[in-house]
Every structure is written in C-alpha cells, then in structure tokens.
Amino acid sequence: MTLTENKKPFFYSVGFHLSLLVLMVVRGYYSSNIPDFERTVRVDIIAMPDKVQKIVEPKQVEAPKEEVKKEAAKPKKVQTKSKPKPEPKKVAAKAAPKKTEKKAPAEDFKKSQMSAFEKLAALKAAKVENELEEKQKAIAGNRIAKGTDLVGVEKIEYSNYKSTLHKAISSEWDLPKWLLEGDLRAIAHIKIDEDGNLIFKKIVSSSGNSIYDEKVMEAIVDSAPFSPPPSKFKKIVFYEGVQLAFP
C-alpha cells in the first residue's frame, strides 16, 4: 500500500464534510425566514433561570426607596425597576433619616457633604443596579420567542393554498377498484414554480406496487399546473416543495 493510497480515505472524508458544509450553508440560506407550517411555540434556550430568580428576590429594600427618592432623584427609575444587592442602598437609607431627625443647623456643610455622599452612594447603587440589569439580560432564562407561526392573513393564505392544492390533486386521484382493497400508501414530493407549474415530482416512499405508484404520479401530473402560490410561499414550494401522502 502506497502513501497516496493511505491518504485516500482522508481526502474522501475532507471532501465529504466540505460538501456537507456547503449543502447546509445553501440550505440555511434558502430556508431562512421560512414559516413553520405546524403550529408551535418556540422556546429559545438561553440559560437555566435559577440565577435570575436569586437576583430578583430581595424586596426588603423598598422601605429606604422613598428616602433615596427624595435625595437622589435620578436613581428612582432604576430602583423601581430592578432589585440590586441591598447593601449599598441600606447604607444610604439608614444614614439619611438619622441626619434629618437631628436637625443640626451648624452642620450644614456636613449635611451637604453627607448629601453628596448619599448621592454618590445612590449613584453607586444605581450603577450596581444597571450592571445587574445588564447581567440579568446576559443570563436571562428560557424565553418564549416571537416564533414563526403563521398568523392573520398569512395563515388564511396558507390554508387556502393548501386547500387549493388538495382539491386539484384529489380530483385526479383515482384507483382501479382492485387496488383499493390493498392497504397501500405512497408519499410523493413535488416542487412548484411561482406560476404554479410542476417542476419536480418524485415518489419518496413507494407503496411497493408499481401500478399504485404510477397512479400517484398520474394524479399529480394530471392536476398540474396548479394555482400560483401566494408570495409568502413561493420560495417554499419552489425550493422545499410539497409532500403529498396518498391516501
């Protein structure tokens, strides 16, 4: 065995995987924005939600919220929105009431200094909350995405188009009586262009009876051309096609 011969399987493997990659890329390109025909709820799995729950929990910080509101207007939005680690807020909240109770006029400077500290503390707290909010976004749990389910006019169009195809093909779907009693079933795959012309037909699952399969193909050919597909589905019936089960 030569060295070149030894490398052959490697090259086959590389070639195969490259072609697989190309195929998947092409498929991904063409199948983008394709709606789901079966009604589904799509859940985007991002992370497990446990972590988020822990952060959301603490509600005891609500009491000092008002104090902070008075003296630090800006962080207000932040505090009502999210629930940060309580420590910084507590510091600010505890300090503020003590000062107001004493009402020492000689300590204006101190007061203003404290006020500045409180502001800084509140701002710090707000900053922490913002960070937490960002963190929350980053580690948000499973979410129900908008999805690609058909709704409204598209759904009606889909239903009508499916019904039109069914009516066209089933009107041509006849079998000899002697074939009806057998438990036969075939699946065909067709592709339709934007004008409704049949551009591809193939039995993808044979009944095992050649005459039955022929009758399936006859029904498809005789029922073409079909109604032009609605614009939303042109790409789908052209590239992905339609799967027809007989019966």
Binding site: F16, L175, W178
Partner: protein
C-alpha cells in the same frame, strides 16, 4: 468513485430532508373499474371456447373490479400484439387485454393466457393450463384466480368450491355434493342412500368430514356416523360409529385431529378425536344434561366456538383450549346456532332465530358488534329462513342457505352486507353449505 456515489446518495436523500415544508394528505382515492377486452381464442382444440370466455367474464364481472369492452380492433386480433397495436387499443379505452390460445396434446387440452397491461405494453400474466374438462369452466376459474392474484396479490374465490348436502338424488335421501364457487358443475361425492349431514372441509381441501345416518355396523341400528371422504383417492372411510350421535365433525387447522359431538353419557358433548377415530380429549361435560354441539375451531387453533343450551336456550359460546372456561357470546335472540369463524379469526357468523325465523348474523369474536346480515321475505310475504353460514377463504363473502324462493337454495353475499346472489337455482333443496379453503 465511492466518494461521488456517497455524495450523490446524500444529495438525493436531501430531497427528502427538504420535503418538510408543506404536507398534504390527499386522502382516499376515487374508484373506477378497469376495462378489459378479450381477444378471440387462437388455435384449435376440443375446448369449448365460448364457455371458456363466458366463464371468465362471469368471474371477473362478479368481482366488480372489471368492465368488459367489446372492441372492434381487438375482435380482429389473434395471437401476439405489437406496441403500436397496444397503444391504438389503449386509446380506445381498453386497459387490459387478454390473449388466449389453445392446443390439443393427447387427451389434454392446453390453454395459454397472456394478459397485457396496455399502458407501456407490460405483460401482467403469462400462464399455460392443461385440462381434460372440455367445458373450459375449470380453466376459466383457475385463470380468473391467477389474474386476480397477479393484480391484487391475493387469491380469490374463483378457484374455490362449496360443499353441501342436497336432495338432488330423490327418494328423500340427502347426499353430499361439491360444486364450483358459483354453483356450477355439482358433483355427488356420497352414496349412502340415506341422509348425509354437516360436511366440513379439511384445511387443504383434499378431504371432507361429514355424518350420515347409516346402519351402525356392530349393532345393526341406524345411527348418525362420522365419515371422511378423500378427493384424491375418491374413497370414504368410517371415522366414528359410537352409539348415539357422531356428528359436527370439523378439522383442526393443522389437519391432525378433529372436533366432534358424541353422546357418550346420553347428552351431546364435544370431543377431540384423532384421524383414526380415537378420543384424544373430552372438551365439555354438561353442566347437568345440557347439550354442547356444533363446534368450530378458530383459525389459530386456540379457541373453540360452539352452541349450548346451558343457559336455558341454545346460545353461542367460545372456550379457550388452554383454560377450558366457556364464555357466553350471545344473549339476544331465542336460538343461536351454527357458529363459523372468519378466516382472520376476528368474526363469527351464525344463524339466529328472531321474529320467528332464522337470519344470518355476524359478531366480533368477543360477542360485540352484533350485525344482522339477512332479512328477506318470501313471495308469500312471510319471512324467509337464512341458515348455515360460512365464510369464503378470503373472508370477503359468506355462503348460506335460504328458502326465500320457496326452495332451500345456496346464496352468497359480501361479508360486509348487501344483497345476496343466488348460487343454485333448481328444483332441489340444499342444506349445510360450507365454503372450501383455497384449493390448488
């Protein structure tokens, strides 16, 4: 090269993977009869060609699958056809073309059938038969069965037979007769000069078991004795002649033993016996002095169906051979009798007394889904009796005896219901009809 093949295969299969967009179930197809034309029978033989063609048309027409077309072009043809002729005939609305030819070889007549599917000129069947029956009926039945099997993959009733007792011979005797599925060619097989009863087929159809009221050899007393008749040797043998009733013989599916009714303790009970007549096993005993009669074994050989008056009235029961615990199947009606299993073992057909007459009923093997299959008045306005039902081997038909014309005649009907077709139509009476299994 291998790589290209693998890649090619993958790309081809990707078509299937892509087919996940729109999915439509087209549903059940409409049905239509296929059109058939028969060419003139080519060649020379003693076979009655007209009878041959007539029987083929009768058979295939009865199936309701086919419609015969009298085509002028076909009438001019004989022997083989070419592609352009086939296409021309197809365009005239013919789907299948039957091309028969015949020849004589000694005492035998040879008949060859070629059946063409004209679209694409495909040969659907090419078979040669030999026969000594100059009527052509036997060959027509065999060909019809092969034709059906070639198209549907399943055997048909056309090469099956019916066995029944009849008073055709006169003198008040009832003898055993075997006939074609359509009542044709009735052939006497018993010569007891007495009353023969309840014939039943062996699994392969080469034998029948029946009872006849004949003189008991040991005692010299007239008795219902059990006989076996073999079609291959054309001989009968006495199987059981115990004092009392020796009746209701029916084969097990393996053909190695039988069930029958004996009155060993004064009342009828069910026994399993060997082919030499010896008792293998007693299956029922009472209770009390109640009778257990009319046994029929399920196609899988695991369950027995029979009638018994243990509830006060004759009703139908099943009993597993493993646990021997009878299970009552029928509650309705005053008198239910003659149970007979469908070939798939899912149904039981029987005769039930209701509204002062017998009708044919079917039910699931567990007694559910009871369905009346017959209800026909005589010309006098009175209800007719419909009795002695049995399934065809394909399960699509039920044979039975009805006196709707005044005489007891044989009828067949679809096992799904509908009108019955009269099979015998003469001045005689027929009783205890049983449909054969598939015959070679």
């Amino acid at each position: 090269m291998k790589f290209i093949l693998i890649l090619g295969g993958f790309l081809l299969s990707s078509n299937i993977a892509f087919a996940q967009g729109l999915k439509i179930d087209i549903g059940k197809a409409g049905s239509k009869q296929s059109t058939v034309a028969i060419m003139n029978v080519a060649g020379v033989s003693k076979l009655r060609k007209a009878d041959l063609i007539s029987q083929i048309k009768k058979n295939l027409g009865f199936s309701t699958y086919f419609r015969f077309v009298n085509n002028a072009t076909v009438n001019q043809l004989s022997g083989n056809i070419n592609a352009s002729q086939a296409e021309a005939i197809r365009k005239q609305g013919v789907e299948f073309l039957v091309a028969p030819s015949t020849a004589t070889s000694g005492k035998k007549q040879l008949v060859q059938f070629k059946v063409y599917l004209l679209k694409g000129l495909k040969l659907a069947l090419d078979k040669t038969y030999t026969t000594q029956d100059l009527s052509g009926v036997t060959i027509a039945n065999r060909f019809s069965d092969d034709f059906m099997q070639a198209l549907t993959g399943k055997k048909s009733i056309f090469n099956t037979k019916l066995v029944a007792t009849s008073d055709r011979v006169g003198f008040g005797w009832k003898e055993i007769y075997v006939m074609n599925w359509d009542g044709g060619k009735p052939t006497r097989v018993s010569y007891h000069k007495a009353s023969a009863l309840s014939p039943a087929w062996s699994p392969g159809g080469s034998q029948i078991v029946y009872s006849a009221i004949t003189i008991q050899p040991q005692s010299g007393v007239r008795n219902a004795n059990l006989y076996i008749y073999d079609f291959r040797t054309k001989r009968r043998s006495l199987l059981s002649s115990r004092p009392g009733i020796n009746s209701g013989g029916t084969f097990f599916p393996d053909g190695k033993s039988l069930l029958m009714t004996l009155t060993q303790s004064g009342v009828p009970d069910l026994f399993r016996i060997g082919l030499n007549g010896s008792v293998i096993e007693r299956l029922t005993k009472g209770p009390g002095r109640t009778m257990n009669v009319e046994p029929d074994v399920s196609p899988d050989g695991k369950t027995l169906a029979f009638s018994s008056d243990r509830s006060g009235r004759p009703m139908l029961y099943t009993m597993s051979f493993s646990n021997k615990v009878p299970k009552r199947l029928t509650i309705a009606g005053r008198y239910n009798s003659a149970p007979s299993w469908s070939p798939d073992g899912k149904k039981i057909v029987f005769a039930g007394w209701d509204k002062k007459h017998f009708d044919i009923f079917t039910m699931n093997a567990d007694g559910s889904a009871l369905k009346r299959m017959t209800e026909k008045r005589k010309r006098t306005g009175k209800w007719s009796n419909n009795e002695s039902p049995s399934y065809s081997p394909d399960g699509r038909f039920i044979s039975f005896i009805s006196n709707r014309t005044g005489k007891k005649e044989i009828y067949i009907m679809r096992s799904t219901g509908g009108d019955a077709v009269q099979i015998t139509n003469d001045k005689y009476n027929y009783y205890h009809v049983k449909w054969s299994p598939y015959l070679n």
